[in-house]
Amino acid sequence: MELSTFFQQLTNALSLGSLYALIAIGYTMVYGILRLINFAHGDVFMLGAYFAFYAVTALAMPWWVAFVVALALTAAFGMGLERVAYRPLRDSPKISVMISAIGASFLIENVGIVLFGGRPKSFPSIPLFDTVVHFGSVSMLSVSLFIPVITAVVLGALLWIVHGTKTGLAMRAVSTDLDAARLMAIDVNKTISLTFGIGSLLAGVGGIMWTMKYPQLNPLMGVMPGLKCFIAAVIGGIGNIQGAVLGGFLLGMIEIMIVAFLPELTGYRDAFAFVLLIVVLLVKPAGLLGKNQTVKV
């Protein structure tokens, strides 16, 4: 393989890994705070992309306004989802909440098919992201460069919120011990809601950038990335933000490398995520960066 192809694939891997990392964080944050796997998270990712699509097309907003509006809507949707599908079941058995999550996922997908139509839509080209840039013999879409940079900025902001602010301290307290957090006068509902908001916002960022890179939208586009990013979060150690980032990048890298170096296995690229999951769980049951403790789900 030529060096230029290698670099080409490396940028691809980096941007795919970034997208996976952004989505995986939402799974991990929600799990960390509620011990709940938000099966509808991939659908929130899909909604982020559609919100941006309609804001640009139907509402004819400039793309950057459209993106801000779409992100706000995605975050609000995530918070609404928690309110409607999870909060009423806060004291119910885990299995009820899980069923509610799966139900919410199917509901969003099917309402999506009704409202958006089952036929894929293509995102109009945005020149800033659609330009081909050349580095010597390596050429790529500008969006592939933007994605890792934007991801890095978003991750930095997230880590600052979680570790550098009072709100973040509240989030960490709530995720450790709900009642003890209440005794600290923390507004537990608000904190949980905010966690969903942030996780959904990141999924929205992921969804929008995903459509910049792969400009086809369909109501089921969140299913596979959602599943893989859940796997990424588990591989990294669910509940651990850095772990989700690591898992996301790992999965993105491996997926692209398979396509690049073992083209005959390309058909198995999705299956590979599961193989990796099984291997990691066999070797380190709590995930790469997870604490070794058994949690019953």
């Binding site: 009642d179 209440r182 005794l183 006068a185």
Partner: protein, 236 residues
């Protein structure tokens, strides 16, 4: 200050509190003693809104606490250092203290109080950047008390602060309870260590299977034969 009347709490089919009444006057140390499962922790949890009473009233200076959320009860100065300490093990000592002061917005005052806690518990200062879960049981209990004090409580409730601690640390914790009370904080203390509790209490209540069966000034209960037999482990 705090008045509990006819308080009943059910956990599913278990009737944990069956019409208990007691009160905590401002500026006093009041203790609640009783055997395992008598309903002591349940009483404190009900006061601070972690469990909902099925009937009865809880009033703080005349205002009902029954339908308030825990955070709002804590913001009114009613603070619980819970059974089993419940510190945040994955957070540092300092972060735990900051959480204690979560409802406060006077940064300078919080900072000053943190230093005050470090004077009160020098051990905690040495461990300010240490994860609280890696500290010894005694240190964790000191942290639990310090964390509760960080909110500047008007009424501090402590659930078995001496459990599992060496006699020297127990003495230290009780000394601090006395100091806090002398500084004007009202105390409601739940203890298995009935002798130590009654010794420092102005007033005591005996709780038996969800009901108050005896009450009186701490010294009187200490001298009471029934209490001596049942709770001080003295000759039957």
């Amino acid at each position: 200050m705090l008045r509990i009347e006819n308080l009943s709490v059910h956990y599913g089919g278990i009737h944990a509190l069956q019409g208990a009444s007691f009160e905590v006057p401002e500026g006093k140390i009041v203790t609640l003693i009783g055997a395992n499962g008598a309903g002591k922790s349940t009483s404190l949890k009900a006061i601070v809104g972690l469990v909902k009473p099925s009937s009865g009233s809880i009033t703080l200076n005349g205002e009902s606490l029954v339908n308030l959320a825990t955070k709002d009860i804590v913001r009114r100065g009613v603070v619980l250092a819970p059974e089993g300490r419940r510190i945040f093990p994955n957070l540092t000592t300092e972060e735990n203290l900051e959480l204690g002061a979560f409802a406060r917005s006077d940064k300078a005052g919080v900072q000053a109080d943190k230093h005050k806690m470090f004077q009160l518990f020098p051990r905690l200062e040495e461990r300010r950047k240490q994860k609280a879960g890696t500290m010894s049981g005694g240190e964790q209990q000191m942290l639990a008390v310090a964390r509760a004090l960080m909110s500047r409580p008007k009424l501090l409730m402590m659930d078995e602060p001496s459990l599992g601690l060496a006699p020297l640390i127990v003495k230290m914790i009780f000394d601090i309870v006395r100091t806090i009370a002398a500084e004007g904080t009202t105390i409601l203390l739940v203890e298995q260590n009935a002798k130590a509790a009654l010794e420092i209490a102005d007033y005591g209540y005996v709780l038996e299977t969800g009901r108050i069966t005896m009450s009186g000034p701490g010294k009187e209960l200490l001298a009471n034969d029934g209490v001596r037999k049942a709770y001080l482990g003295e000759g039957l």
